[in-house]
């Protein structure tokens, strides 16, 4: 195998370059429209949702509410205002967002329209959380063994 001389980026970095690049990006960033800046923030949340859905490791469980809160923060609006927009009672909306009630088609479509993401994103957060719950419960699977259909067959044969 060939042994190639490596060029290291560390060698070209110094405090002045760091500062100059920071200023360059800040300057360029400030030239963006308000819409573009908002889009950057919204995309960041969308990618976080996608990663949460796709990540196989359980890690920290996040509720629908956690992601909704990210949107509310970026858009600078309250959950109460969102409830009004969704034509729901604040307390009722909260029950859905914390997982006390299952998301229904109507609310999923409202969240999708609100966040400019696909309805599947919101449904899959719920499914992912249910799977986490199932996997936790699976650890005490013994208590579910009595539901095995063979028990039913044995008892009816007796």
């Amino acid at each position: 195998m060939t042994n190639i001389k490596e060029i290291k980026p560390d060698e070209i970095w110094n405090e002045k370059k760091k500062e100059d690049l920071k200023n360059f990006i800040s300057l360029q960033s400030n030239e963006q429209t308000h819409e573009r800046k908002l889009r950057n923030e919204l995309l960041a949340i969308q990618y976080k949702i996608e990663d949460y859905i796709e990540n196989n490791q359980d890690g920290n469980q996040l509720m629908v509410l956690d992601f909704v809160k990210m949107y509310l923060k970026v858009l600078n609006i309250t959950q109460r205002k969102l409830a009004v927009l969704f034509e729901m009672k604040d307390s009722n909306l909260h029950k859905y967002l914390v997982g006390e009630r299952k998301l229904n088609a109507s609310l999923i479509l409202k969240l999708s329209s609100f966040s400019h993401t696909s309805p599947e994103h919101w449904l899959k957060i719920q499914v992912k959380n249910e799977l986490i719950e199932i996997n936790k419960e699976r650890e005490c699977f013994d208590k579910y063994k009595k539901y095995d259909y063979t028990n039913l067959i044995v008892s009816s044969a007796n």
Partner: protein, 173 residues
Amino acid sequence: MRVQLTKVDESLPADARIIRYADNLMALPSCTDGWRFNFRKHSKKPAYETYVLICVETPDIIEGCLIFEMKAKVEPYMAYVEVAPHNKGKGKKFDRVAGCLIAFACRLSFIHGENDFRGWLAFDVLEEDRHNEIKLMALYCKKYGALKFGETTMVIPPLAGEILIDQYLKLTL
């Protein structure tokens, strides 16, 4: 993250994944394997996050490698990116490897970048030959929408990053 490469000889799509490198995975490439960067060594630096691109059919072979860094905890920086030697030049096995890794780094810059830096990805183009460096920078301007800053540094702005993400990483959930 699921991505799709193109098998060059058959012009067929190939399912692949970009995964965060952990020590229990395969050995990372280094200069002694014909790679330009010593990923094996650099991956050990605490501030670096290392990712490898592997094909679903051949999970033991690294098709490309990326090291991402958050400079001063807020500025996204692509410290190293390289495609495997067998994916370079005329006889290359897979296409889209570099595009997928750069788009992935852009995506990380949206997730981790803060305030003014959200979605801005900086990186350096370093070649032994200055002429090659200039050629490569021109290619990154054209192909990835990167802006030039100083002698060797480039920055991919959010709009260009979003286009790359859609082009290379579009997920079918």
